[in-house]
């Protein structure tokens, strides 16, 4: 047992170090070529004004967002996988991101005309976040109700996908009735974007992520029991009703906040918890939860770095990169020896 915990401590420290390294790398690489020394100078505000704007207004917020969004989406996925006892659960595949998106669309496409669409007006505020939470929470409750009736993992997934399609149909309909400016804002949002996020927005995202993660971490003990089944949990003393509500709220806050600002990030939520399980070889949430958060930050930083790799001012949408990383993991779960992903 001792040597096991040493190994875990070393892995966790390694993962943390990797996050720091990738964070720095993400700051160094961008569509504008900049020397490392210039980036550092700009960071500590002693460089030329142009460099400082690029680093402080674009690269630093983007890297911070990648860390926050990666950790939040991944832990949201972990919570959903354990709660629904479904290894293929995740905020994107089950329509929770779409639900959050509907909330965002409602605010963007209907409320925007009431305000000026100035940078940092409604998007900066908590309005979008709250709408995204509500949307995410609503889908989460529907999925919960379905999985209480249908034990079959695939059935629940199909319901989630149908929900996502239905929501996107509603959103399309709303787009039809909205003007060009509103539409453009919305379409850019759907592509998943870690940039274009202001500091007030980052502050909101950081607060929401911290709250979501803190709530999630108080639930590690019941989460470990839930892994063994509902009857099991209830007979060892887990108060299921209460636990379920707290977990759903936490997962909705995490996925909803990220989706509100970064758009529906594909496959991070479903894939990262499995990468963390593979790395740490454990199902214990006391280890798995911080491991998942760090792995999520690493993967999203990496995705962001890859997305600006083409150089020459070209940037691939970050969703394309996360899909290319996430889909093989999901395929591995479906086709792996666990067969249709019945197990964790």
């Amino acid at each position: 047992m001792r040597e096991g915990s040493t190994r875990i401590a070393v892995s966790m420290a390694g993962l943390f170090l990797l996050t720091l390294i990738l964070f720095m790398a993400d700051m160094l690489i961008g569509s504008t070529q900049m020397a490392a020394s210039d980036v550092l100078k700009a960071l500590f505000s002693s460089g030329p004004a142009g460099d400082e704007i690029i680093v402080m207004q674009f690269r630093l917020p983007k890297a911070l967002t990648a860390v926050l969004a990666g950790a939040a989406m991944s832990v949201s996925g972990l919570l959903m996988q354990t709660l629904f006892r479904n290894p293929l659960a995740g905020p994107d595949v089950m329509g929770v991101s779409s639900g959050a998106g509907l909330g965002v669309a409602l605010t963007l496409l209907t409320l925007t005309p009431l305000f000026t669409l100035a940078e940092g007006s409604i998007l900066a505020g908590w309005g979008v976040i709250l709408a995204a939470w509500a949307g995410a929470g609503a889908v989460m409750i529907i999925i919960m109700a379905v999985s209480a009736r249908m034990r079959d993992i695939m059935t629940v997934l199909i319901v989630g996908m149908l929900l996502a399609s239905a929501i996107s149909a509603v959103v399309s309909l709303m787009q039809y009735f909205s003007n060009e400016v509103m539409l453009r804002t919305y379409v850019i949002w759907t592509m998943g974007n870690l940039g274009n996020i202001s500091y007030p927005q980052i502050r909101a995202l950081a607060l929401a992520t911290a709250a979501g993660l803190a709530i999630a971490f108080t639930m590690v003990k019941p989460l470990n029991a839930i892994l063994m089944g509902e009857t099991f949990s209830r007979t060892v003393g887990v108060r299921m009703q209460r636990t379920r509500i707290i977990l759903l709220a936490s997962a909705s806050i995490l996925a909803g906040s990220v989706t509100a600002f970064c758009g529906p990030l594909a496959f991070i939520g479903v894939a990262v918890p499995h990468i963390a399980r593979l790395l740490f070889g454990t199902a214990d949430h006391r280890i798995l939860m911080p491991a998942t958060a760090l792995t999520g930050a690493v993967i999203l930083l990496l995705s962001d770095i890859i997305s600006v790799m083409p150089g020459g001012g070209h940037v691939i949408p970050v969703n394309t990169v996360t899909s290319l990383i996430g889909i093989p993991v999901v395929l591995w779960i479906i086709l792996g020896k666990a067969g249709l992903g019945r197990r964790f």
């Binding site: 003990k221 892994l227 089944g229 009857t231």
Partner: protein, 335 residues
């Protein structure tokens, strides 16, 4: 032997479901179980065994009457204290891969650990004791998906034991296990009652072991639950009534069930020992009973370890090298 006090008791209990309307499964159940006792709940499929067990451990509400555990009603005990009084092993399959046997067992300490589940010295002692009592101490560091079904069941029982409750309730702990594992589990349960003074209530379809090993049987039929020592229920004929059908008959002599065969032919048998016993058995399956006066005769010849059967009906004689050849050739063996 002397047994401890009553630990589980139902008073005029009515069990069932509360959905859109209330569906009563059974009512007026007044049952008891004592410390140090192995109680087997038996009954045919669909009589409500799981419902009774789930009501007993507070997983579903009683429709009427009371469940008393350790002298207090479930309500008086409260949901936070209940896991310290009764533990439950359900039929839920284990769907986790990356978890060690030791960690599953340690989940039994859930009611005693702090918010994050840190195990203290006394928790670790309880886990080790549970692993040892169930005979899986060597498997502690193995992952749950690398062990056999029988060992998995032992792991879940060890978890139940680590929960340190006086009453252990188990829903079909021997289902899907092979014969040696089934006996292994039931003798383990019996040992827990004898050595640790636990009361174990388990449901099963395995009548043989229940009748041989249980101190008390709760026999569930459509009319209610009858309780008593296995022999009490054999004496009153309750056991036979519960399971007998046009195809099955119960033998009080050895406490086993056997098929009732259809139309009977007779045949005379000459021979002794194991070969004769097994020949009778094979013949019985084909609708033949033995009768010394029957016109057709089977003679068994044993030379060394070779056995030969000769069937004669007065005029003809035929030899067979195996019972299979013999019975397939018998007239009337077409049922």
């Amino acid at each position: 032997m002397r047994r401890g006090g009553v630990i589980a008791e139902t008073r005029d209990l009515e069990i069932g479901y509360m959905r859109k309307k209330t569906i009563s499964v059974m009512k007026d159940l007044s049952l008891r179980a004592r410390r140090g006792e192995l109680v087997a709940l038996i009954g045919r499929n669909g009589t409500g065994k799981s419902t009774l067990l789930r009501t007993l451990v507070g997983l579903q509400p009683a429709l009427a009457g009371e469940v008393m555990l350790d002298g207090r009603t479930l309500h008086e005990t409260g949901s936070s204290q209940l896991p310290r009084i009764v533990s439950f092993v359900s039929t839920e399959p284990v769907a986790v891969r990356n978890i060690r046997v030791r960690d599953v067992v340690a989940l039994g300490r859930f009611p005693y650990t702090n918010w994050i589940g840190t195990r203290t010295e006394s928790d670790n002692i309880a886990v080790i004791a549970a692993l040892e009592a169930t005979g899986i101490a060597a498997l502690g560091d193995r992952s749950i998906d690398s062990i056999s079904d029988g060992e998995k069941q032992r792991t879940l029982i060890a978890r139940s034991l680590a929960q340190d409750t006086g009453l252990l309730v188990m829903d079909e702990p021997t289902a899907f296990l092979d014969l040696p594992s089934r006996y292994g589990i039931v003798s383990l349960l019996r040992r827990l009652t004898r050595e640790k003074g636990k009361c174990v209530i388990y449901s099963t379809h395995d009548l043989d072991t229940a009748i041989n090993e249980a101190d008390r049987i709760w026999l569930m039929t459509g009319d209610g639950v009858t309780e008593g020592a296995p022999e009490d229920l054999m004496l009153t004929g309750s056991l036979a009534r519960a399971f007998e059908s046009p195809l099955l008959s119960f033998s009080v002599n050895d406490g086993t069930f056997s098929f009732i065969r259809g139309r009977q032919n007779t045949i005379a048998l000459e021979g002794r020992g194991k070969a004769a016993k097994l020949t009778t058995r094979a013949l019985a399956r084909c609708g033949y009973t033995t009768d010394p006066d029957a016109p057709r005769i089977v003679k068994i010849y044993e030379r060394g370890h070779m056995t030969e059967w000769v069937v004669s009906d007065g005029s003809n004689e035929k030899r067979y090298g195996s019972l299979y050849d013999l019975v397939t050739d018998l007239p009337g063996n077409d049922q």
